[in-house]
Symmetry: C2
């Protein structure tokens, strides 16, 4: 049996586009003598459709798309993902379904059982868990169909009380097929392979795993569809961050007609800590995820051109380099916005960067506008000393100028804030926190240095001086980040323990950090939730990014 | 048996404050010869604690608080809400529990079964549904304990497959007690009474219902704790939007020792549509909910003083009036920020308003700053015609000035955007969309006129001219909202169908609205999700507010 996996990039709610993609893949697979083609979870509407599924109209469009697609499922079996209405009296109105199409009919629908409702996932918000499980018989094989999380309910402390594969095994299936929409983070590649392999070892069946690819606002799906034989060998690994269609033969004896891929050395968990991110594989994945995140945001929003405030600092330099790669240097405009406190080397470094990248740039000094703000505010501020108010005025003048140029010429402002700043509230709302997409908002400062080194691996793109100088916001004379923040080498480690690992203050202090400093950092994080709440979407590369996957009370009084 | 309900306002994560409040109520109830005192859902940590419960440290603090409180539960039974760890191998790590304390011990913990995971609720993100149900025997009575949503699983299409009261009835309880944290919206008062009454009628038992009060960022809990006798009569209704502690005797024969309250006329559902909001009861509730929303945001964040950009328009006028009521006029500073396009009457109206309210105000003209922006941008803008870029520059200058004064003097900027604007994207990010709290963001424009009339009911506070003139942003000569938007009388009706009622385009058109206009409005709503995503928290007064309760893909392509 020749089974194709279609690893595709869908656009949420764009039924026309998604349906066309799916039909084209079916045609291509048929031309290559496919018996069966498998698509990813909720491919019909795109994943995650979020509250769109609360609209009857949206669900009707899903059914209409399936009606169209099933006309192409004549001599080929087709597995697609879409919502399905729950016709029972009790429970939520919808299931998350895998539709098996054949003979131009819907032959079966298997519902998802394990509904991830944590981090960026909200599936129980919309869907009722499956309560019927049935293998699909097709061309003499019994296929056990599961959806994404359904095969993740393993280990010592499984998250769900029902494990659907355990139930399906009673019907003696020959092969497992899983439709997924499982997003990237820098730990996920190895986790995914280990989990799929555990299923194969447990159930002694080959597994065809088809994952979505593409970025949906903040969540990046990396593809990496996989095929394991019944002995637990990896036989096929689809590329990361790219669409891919390929057919593999499942032999009659249950073996896979594709050579075994030797596993890479597993990376021990502690090596994946952000502070050891020089590990090449992972920083390359982070780089590629961000590139796809930028590109898909623009493509799916219908935008082409980006604008970046270029300060001569490392965050804007890395943002600019990534944006040029994602969108083309001619589509990325840098604006240098020096203040009276900006150093000459900052402007020089920013110019050098854009000269190397080849992207257009302008210099717009903010001094005159700043002076006019001070004059206008004089009757109110009187002779009160310079403080954070004046610093923020400058930052917000920059935000206003960038947005004005963006509005005038149709650019989208890319935000350059990093995760360390967002965590501690070291940024100005409506100033340097402005923008449509947070390119580096899930990267700690130390990780951004790693990204810069990675970008510079073959030739110097980001000027060495940008990497080596001490970080500064340059909003007052001789300002340094370390005036307000602990050293990033300490700050980032504490933040990582608190944010990614959800360690409490006592646990973090037990690691040897200065207790007063830990309390101060955790307090900064919790007090500044109100700022992050107004921040743009962040391209997610870690297992715990700020934004939709981290939901913290604003008026809370915990550790703050 | 004398049962006290403690309707209290908790602060999320503020264990010290919450524990003290609970202990004080226990002491007071004991002084009044209470047998039992009932608190609200998750009162120990405050509701909703959101991702804080993912911290072991946070859960440990909950247990520590219960340990402290149980010392006061000596001769009095105490029912408090807190998370409880799930010690089973499978399922989520926590339950949402009701702890029964007596004899200075935890005598029982009943877990919540029906976990709301829709709109603003995320309970299945954290909690495993109950799988054990046990009545509590106390002083000769069998008490069936449920938590909030547990008693809402009624009707023709119940949301959950298990109804905990059905199971508890097998143990022949004498009374139902429900611990709730059930938020306000303008339809909720009647819904709640009808639901509780349905339980009483179905199970033929008296019901003691204790609800939380107080605002938690965007969600306002209204209190309104209730006691019904076994015949379905309302015997006690606690005040709305206020703390209240009171004991009522449950007689040995199951009757309630409190006179029956005659039910108010039920308001038919269609009267609750926002366009008929002149219905006095509801507009008064909305008014009170917003006042509490402002006050609690400030109290819980540790703020005292607000700043408002006062334009002479109705939105800022209503915001200012509500803020003065919530915080005291001396704590609310208005800033008038006329541009060259502002009319004289706007400034006059804004001055008249503040003179009536008695709050301090300043006039800060933005012309000089605006000119300096235009001069600075001249080399880039050249002779391109005036368009939205220049409009937004002015709005963002205002945002910057308001934030600068706020930063200098420690004010919090209140945002004045309404739901109609937010829905259609008729506002400037970082300009008039700036602020820490969206006071009117869940009120359609037409509802704001109703609020203005309500505020003016006894004497003219908001100048009549503010109410009667045509709305305008005054960012270009002779601008009117209707240049860009449909009439609010039509716009608000279409928005209501789409947002609150989740009607699709065909359904809305079938109501008789112009089809092209419906498509245009729905497209505006969906295209502008990226703007709302960066907006501040909005005080929620409707069943479907923008913000945490409405989660829509930004890169989606549905109806846009």
């Amino acid at each position: 049996m020749k089974i194709f996996l279609a690893q595709q990039n869908y656009h949420i709610g764009n039924f026309e586009n998604n349906t066309l993609k799916i039909i084209n893949a079916i045609k291509e697979a048929k031309a290559q003598n496919a018996d069966l083609i498998v698509f990813s979870e909720l491919c019909i509407c795109g994943y995650p459709p979020r509250d769109f599924v609360e609209f009857d109209d949206f669900i009707n469009r899903c059914y209409a798309a399936i009606d169209k697609i099933k006309e192409y499922a004549d001599t080929i079996g087709v597995l697609v993902g879409a919502p399905d209405r729950n016709l029972a009296r009790n429970g939520k109105d919808l299931f998350n379904g895998a539709y098996f199409l054949y003979d131009k009919e819907i032959k079966a629908v298997q519902h998802k059982t394990c509904l991830p409702t944590y981090d960026v996932f909200d599936e129980y918000r919309y869907f009722e868990p499956a309560f019927n499980w049935q293998v699909v018989e097709f061309k003499g094989r019994k296929i056990a169909i599961t959806i994404c999380e359904d095969i993740w309910n393993l280990g010592d402390n499984p998250l769900y009380r029902i494990c659907p594969m355990d139930i399906l095994m009673q019907q003696q299936p020959d092969v497992m097929i899983n439709l997924s929409a499982s997003p990237f983070d820098y730990t996920h590649d190895e986790d995914r392979k280990a989990t799929i392999k555990s299923n194969v070892i447990k159930y002694k069946l080959p597994l065809f795993y088809c994952n979505a690819v593409g970025s949906q606002t903040e969540v990046v799906f990396d593809g990496s569809s996989l095929i394991f034989d019944r002995d637990g060998n990896l036989c096929k690994e689809f590329p990361k961050f790219k669409e891919h269609l390929e057919g593999i033969v499942l032999n009659d004896d249950g073996t896979i007609d594709s050579p075994v891929i030797e596993p890479r050395e597993m990376v021990p968990d502690q090596l994946l800590e952000p502070l050891q991110l020089s590990e090449t594989l992972n920083i390359a994945q982070i780089h590629d995820a961000i590139i796809l995140g930028i590109r898909d945001y623009f493509t799916k929003m219908g935008f082409t051109k980006a604008i970046v405030g270029s300060s001569g600092g490392i965050d804007s330099a890395v943002t600019l380099a990534l944006a040029c790669k994602a969108l083309g240097k001619e589509n990325v405009r840098a604006i240098l916005l020096p203040s009276k406190y900006s150093t000459t080397h900052s402007v020089n470094d920013a110019e050098k960067l854009s000269n190397t990248l080849g992207n257009p740039y302008d210099i717009v000094a903010i001094k005159n506008i700043y002076d006019s703000f001070l004059n206008t505010l004089k009757p109110i501020f009187k002779d009160l000393p310079f403080n954070i108010a004046e610093e923020n005025i400058q930052s917000r003048i920059r935000g206003n100028l960038l947005m004005a140029i963006a509005n005038k010429f149709g650019y989208i402002l890319l935000n350059t804030s990093n995760k360390s700043e967002l965590a501690t509230g070291y940024g100005t709302l409506y100033g340097d926190m402005a923008g449509g997409l947070g390119v580096l908002g899930d990267c700690y400062k130390l990780q951004i240095y790693e990204l810069a080194k990675f970008i510079n691996a073959e030739k110097e793109i980001i000027p060495e001086n940008v990497i080596s100088k001490a970080p500064s916001a340059e909003l007052r004379p001789d300002q340094k980040d370390t005036d307000s923040l602990p050293d990033y080498a300490i700050l980032d480690r504490v933040l990582y323990q608190y944010i990614e690992r959800r360690q409490g203050p006592d646990q973090i202090k037990a690691l040897g950090f200065d207790p007063a400093l830990v309390d101060r950092i955790l307090r900064m994080v919790n007090m500044n939730e109100y700022k992050r709440n107004q921040f743009c979407p962040i391209i997610r590369i870690s297992p715990k990014a700020f934004g939709v996957g981290r939901r913290v009370p604003i008026v809370g009084k915990y550790l703050s």
